[in-house]
């Protein structure tokens, strides 16, 4: 073997071995400090400074910050986190860098507004974000719709929700249901009916599969809530009439003259506990249901979006 070939072989082997060794050591180091990530650090928190520092490439930076916000929310959401301290600043930086990045308002609001474990539980920050979005994109009716959604769903502020839907209905080419929503809010119409209308509208006005699936999940949960409420009222009536609780769902069905054993949207019959509680057989299949859950049951976190 020529000396040159020898050197080549030795250097090549050294290169591969040292690369593998450094990767191995790094992997071990990462395991020593599993939480050593940048998740909870925002080195620059001023949107204005970041915009200046972007040297005009603010669009790309906005995409990077948006991706970071999505990753941050996804990671914290997945780990059942109770706090999302960086979410609002990340979204504010994103939208300041690119005020026309509509997706950041639409999804950002739905990350911020719902209570944990479904979101960050910061509806006020969501409203600020959406108002900033409307200020910069006044002709986009969907932003008004999302804002009205937050007022209604998270704050139960019918007056503000009605005003927002009304404002949105004035925008050229706004969807006609904004007018209907404004009227619904103004007269505090039935809760389930209104919520069903909002989620149906969400389903119909988006092409995003994830959002459509999410809307379907909410509609299923709404049906469960409504069913359980009606059945629970039937149990109360039975108790008032007979002075005892029904022994089984069959007895309740017979006493109330129902058409058959009531079932949830998946076809599973509702359960009647000895304590007279109506419960779901598989509560994990209805992440957004608020009724029919066993005592102490904790729902799995699930993405929740109005748009």
């Amino acid at each position: 073997m020529k000396p040159r070939q020898k050197v080549t072989m030795v250097a090549g082997a050294c290169l591969i071995l040292s690369l593998a060794a450094s990767a191995f050591v790094l992997h071990r180091t990462d395991r020593l400090r599993p939480q050593a990530t940048l998740d909870e650090v925002l080195f620059l928190s001023s949107p204005t400074v970041i915009k200046r520092a972007s040297l005009g490439y603010d669009g790309l930076l906005a995409c990077i910050y948006w991706t970071r916000a999505v990753q941050y929310f996804g990671y914290r959401h997945h780990s059942f986190a109770a706090s999302y301290n960086l979410l609002a600043p990340l979204l504010e930086i994103t939208t300041h860098l690119d005020p026309h990045l509509l997706v950041a308002y639409e999804f950002g609001t739905s990350f911020l507004a719902p209570q944990p474990p479904h979101g960050a539980g910061q509806p006020e920050r969501a409203i600020e974000l959406m108002e900033y979005g409307i200020q910069n994109n006044p002709d986009n009716w969907k932003l008004y719709y999302d804002l009205g959604f937050v007022y209604y769903m998270e704050l139960r502020d019918y007056k503000k929700a009605a005003e927002t839907f009304e404002r949105g209905s004035q925008v050229p080419n706004a969807h006609p249901f904004l007018k209907v929503m404004a009227a619904q809010m103004a007269q505090h119409a039935g809760e389930y009916e209104t919520a069903r209308m909002l989620w149906s509208a969400t389903y119909q006005t988006t092409q995003d599969k994830q959002i459509r699936d999410n809307a379907v999940e909410h509609l299923r949960a709404l049906r469960v809530d409504e069913d359980v409420q009606h059945l629970q009222e039937a149990v109360t009536r039975f108790g008032e009439r007979t002075g005892r609780l029904p022994l089984s769902m069959a007895e309740l069905v017979a006493a109330e003259g129902l058409a058959g054993t009531p079932v949830d949207p998946d076809g599973h019959p509702y359960k009647l506990t000895p304590e007279g509680r109506v419960e779901l057989r598989v509560p994990d299949d209805f992440a957004f249901a608020t009724k029919g859950l066993p005592p102490g049951y904790k729902p799995r976190p699930k993405f929740h979006s109005p748009q």
Partner: protein
């Protein structure tokens, strides 16, 4: 005269290609294809935006780096290698040498941008599966980026005509950064009084103003660009580059090369 300038320009282009400048296209292709595939998985609904923003930003940054690092050596390298004396001993005027170098570098950047533009459109097609009329606006952004290159090439040549490569790089890059803050400088001038107002206004008009060339974000949102802006940016780039090149020629004409 025209032939001599064309010869110098084509030699500058060939030299840049020999220096493997166009290798940056490989890095660009990897960056763009990686982004196009990855972003869909780690973010939400911004695949197209990322391809446009990242693609055009990369075209701009790669080009600026090339313009600065090649431009600063165009004159000094020829002096250092003593090849300049061979060139100037022939019937070539000093100003022709500068102008030829400028066109050679600008040509290199145009060719580079052309290939990168193909990459941007290919990545766009990959994520959208179709082209829409608004995608044609990307050509406007690319045109503005080329205009930026023209200005930076001329500035790099200006600094290269009297300074060392290291200092020229520092000056050119600083002007690129300052050029992005030119509007702030003008706002500052508006708030100042007396002498500082004159000074700030003068500085604001002297440094290149790159902010009007940056339409990447608005084009990513399919917002149209006014025809008037295209015309005025073209004129501004031509005038500014001519000014910087004239400065370079003036300095180089009077430089003692012995």
């Amino acid at each position: 005269m025209r032939t001599r300038i064309a010869h110098i320009a084509s030699n500058t282009f060939r030299e840049a290609v020999r220096d493997r400048v166009l290798y940056n296209l490989i890095a660009f292709a990897l960056l763009l294809s990686g982004a196009a595939i990855l972003v869909g998985q780690i973010s939400i609904e911004i695949e197209k935006l990322v391809v446009i923003n990242l693609g055009l930003t990369a075209v701009s940054l790669f080009g600026i780096v090339i313009a600065i690092f090649i431009g600063i050596g165009l004159v000094s390298k020829e002096i250092e290698k003593r090849t300049l004396y061979t060139v100037l001993s022939r019937p070539v005027r000093r100003w022709e040498f500068i102008v030829g170098k400028f066109f050679g570098l600008a040509g290199t950047l145009v060719v580079n941008t052309f290939f990168m533009a193909i990459g941007v459109f290919a990545a766009l097609f990959y994520v959208s599966h179709k082209f829409v009329r608004a995608d044609a606006l990307i050509l406007v952004a690319l045109y503005f980026i080329v205009l930026e290159f023209v200005i930076i090439c001329s500035l790099a040549l200006l600094f290269s005509s009297f300074s060392s490569p290291l200092l020229s790089a520092v000056f050119a890059f600083s002007l690129f950064v300052i050029g992005n803050f030119a509007e702030d400088l003008r706002n500052f001038a508006g708030m100042a009084h007396g002498f500082s107002r004159w000074l700030a206004t003068g500085a604001a008009y002297l440094v290149p103003n790159f902010s009007a060339f940056n339409v990447i974000t608005s084009i990513a949102h399919e917002q149209p660009v006014a025809g008037q802006l295209i015309l005025q940016n073209t004129l501004y780039a031509l005038f500014y580059a001519t000014m910087a090149l004239s400065g370079a020629v003036l300095i180089f004409e009077h430089r003692d090369l012995k």
